[in-house]
């Protein structure tokens, strides 16, 4: 039931108004969206807003800010793990966050009941650093100019510049942003589901016009595919390549902590199983004549790949938080691309589609077993 609604207001204003009216009318009990923290509004974090005033022009909420302090898919998993909310909650998320959410639903870590998913065609987000050093504010005008042209600001994260899944799937409502030249005066909401339609019934706006898969979107896809190839070509491979890449890893496991797909409460690599007895160290020393401490750096990353790459949504949080500036998400995206191609799987595509490692076909992969 694809439907669309054109509102004669700027995208930012229209989005705020939609969310405000949803709260005012009681159609949703809360909205999960980005908001500014502190008196000066320096910090940005996800919030559950219940006060419609937050979505006034000078309110704390900033739902379309190109910034990702956490993967909202993981946050929604935390909120709904024990059960869905009793009343509808709207969530404004980016396409990669939406994909993570869908994967977490498949992994029984999350519920979509009573969650209204609002997403937008994504033009990337700025690195976390930009939110700390003030670059985010300075960059914003340029960002939106680039969005209108259907291009990417050069300062958004490389992961985003290489992302080819920037049109959200499975959103109840999609806000068209990328390549919309009249972004400041007009906003198109694409209503994709019955669930979404129920929430925009009262919204003033004109009938549909234009497709989400517009010409600028196609052009952006081409550019991002090219950049993706470029990034992938730069990945150092081989054991020596991995050792060079992870040589500066400090073993903080932050990449795993922020990863929405790494949902295990206790990771193998943080567990007792990874606490080695003295015999282990002595054995390693006898065998090799030396040992990097703490050990298990490449092992940790390969183990993580084996466990989560099939569902890796390429959100780039791992690179964002790495204190040693290791380009993790490029490496993971490359590995994930071939792993997912093996099973013709795309994470976040369809909530009814099983994760390949949880299912099988009787006749397949004959070449794997010899």
């Amino acid at each position: 039931m694809p439907d669309a609604r054109v509102i004669n207001k700027g995208a930012e204003e229209a989005t705020r108004e939609l969310l405000r009216s949803l709260l005012e009318s009681g159609q949703v009990s809360a909205v999960l969206a980005l908001g500014r923290t502190g008196s000066g509004g320096e910090g940005v974090a996800y919030f559950l807003f219940t006060d419609p005033a937050a979505f006034e022009a000078d309110g704390a909420a900033c739902p379309l800010l190109p910034f990702m302090p956490a993967n909202a898919g993981g946050l929604l998993s935390r909120l709904t793990l024990q059960g869905p909310p009793s009343e509808p909650v709207a969530a404004v998320v980016k396409p990669c966050e939406l994909r993570a959410l869908i994967e977490l639903v498949k992994l029984n870590q999350c519920s979509l009941d009573n969650i209204l998913l609002i997403s937008s065609t994504c033009s990337g987000v700025y690195p976390l650093d930009a939110g700390v050093d003030g670059a985010l504010g300075k960059n914003l005008p340029g960002y939106w100019e680039a969005v209108k042209r259907g291009e990417l600001d050069e300062d958004v994260r490389p992961t985003c510049r290489a992302c080819v899944n920037f049109v959200p799937e499975n959103a109840d409502i999609t806000i068209a942003l990328l390549g919309e030249a009249d972004l400041d005066t007009r906003c198109t909401l694409h209503v994709n589901t019955e669930k979404g339609a129920a929430f925009v019934e009262d919204l003033e706006g004109t009938a549909p016009s234009g497709e989400l898969e517009s010409e600028p979107v196609q052009r952006a896809l081409g550019q991002r595919e090219a950049f993706r190839e470029e990034l992938f070509a730069g990945v150092e491979v081989g054991m020596q390549g991995l050792i060079r890449t992870f040589g500066r890893c400090i073993g903080c496991h932050a990449c795993k902590t922020v990863c929405p797909i790494c949902y295990c409460r206790l990771c193998h690599f943080d567990s007792q199983d990874s606490e080695h007895p003295p015999e282990f160290y002595e054995g390693e020393l006898d065998r090799k004549g030396g040992l990097r401490v703490p050990p298990d750096t490449v092992f940790f990353q390969l183990g993580r790949m084996a466990h989560m790459s099939i569902s890796c949504v390429g959100c780039g949080m791992c690179t964002d938080v790495c204190p040693a500036d290791i380009p993790l998400s490029t490496l993971f995206a490359k590995v994930a691309a071939s792993a997912q191609a093996l099973f013709e799987y795309r994470p976040g595509r369809d909530v009814a589609e099983e994760i390949p490692l949880r299912t099988f076909e009787e006749e397949e992969l004959a070449q794997v077993a010899t």
């Binding site: 081989g238 054991m239 991995l242 193998h268 090799k288 990097r292 750096t297 092992f299 590995v335 093996l342």
Partner: protein, 143 residues
């Protein structure tokens, strides 16, 4: 390291219900085979987490063999079919990252009655790993 007496150290994760019995039977029947496989008995090839394989390699194995029941014969109906998908995924990771583990990793189906096939698998795989030489992972100080 190209010395004459290189016997690969292969860690074999063998299914209790089939390959483990085949290996036992091969021993009882006094079939000749290279003494290269160190056996880890598992209840099903589906029990083998990719981390087991990586642990073996990082602990100095020159090769890793996972062996279980033929498709359709799993004691638990489908464990081996899960193992096959996991193996395919792990191989894909090794291939993408151009890691030498790709040539040192094998999944084989050997039923309980196939002691000669077990011997053949061990011979073939030992040859293959011998060709590849000692795993260089063993010498890495940084892992």
């Amino acid at each position: 390291m190209e010395n004459q007496a290189f016997t690969p150290r292969i860690v074999g994760f063998l299914c209790n219900w089939c390959t483990y019995a085949a290996a036992d039977s091969a021993g009882v029947s006094r079939f000749k085979m290279p003494p290269s496989v160190m056996v880890v008995r598992v209840m099903c090839s589906g029990r083998v987490d990719p981390l087991f394989v990586l642990t073996a390699f990082f602990s100095g194995a020159d090769g890793v063999l996972i062996s279980g029941c033929w498709p359709g014969q799993c004691h638990y109906q489908k464990g081996n079919l899960h193992a096959r998908r996991r193996t395919a995924l792990l191989k894909s990771i090794f291939d993408t990252l151009d890691l030498e583990m790709a040539d040192r990793f094998r999944l084989s189906w050997v039923s309980a009655s196939e002691a000669p096939r077990f011997v053949q698998v061990v011979k073939e795989f030992t040859d293959q790993v011998e060709q590849a030489g000692p795993s260089s992972i063993c010498d890495e100080l940084f892992l």
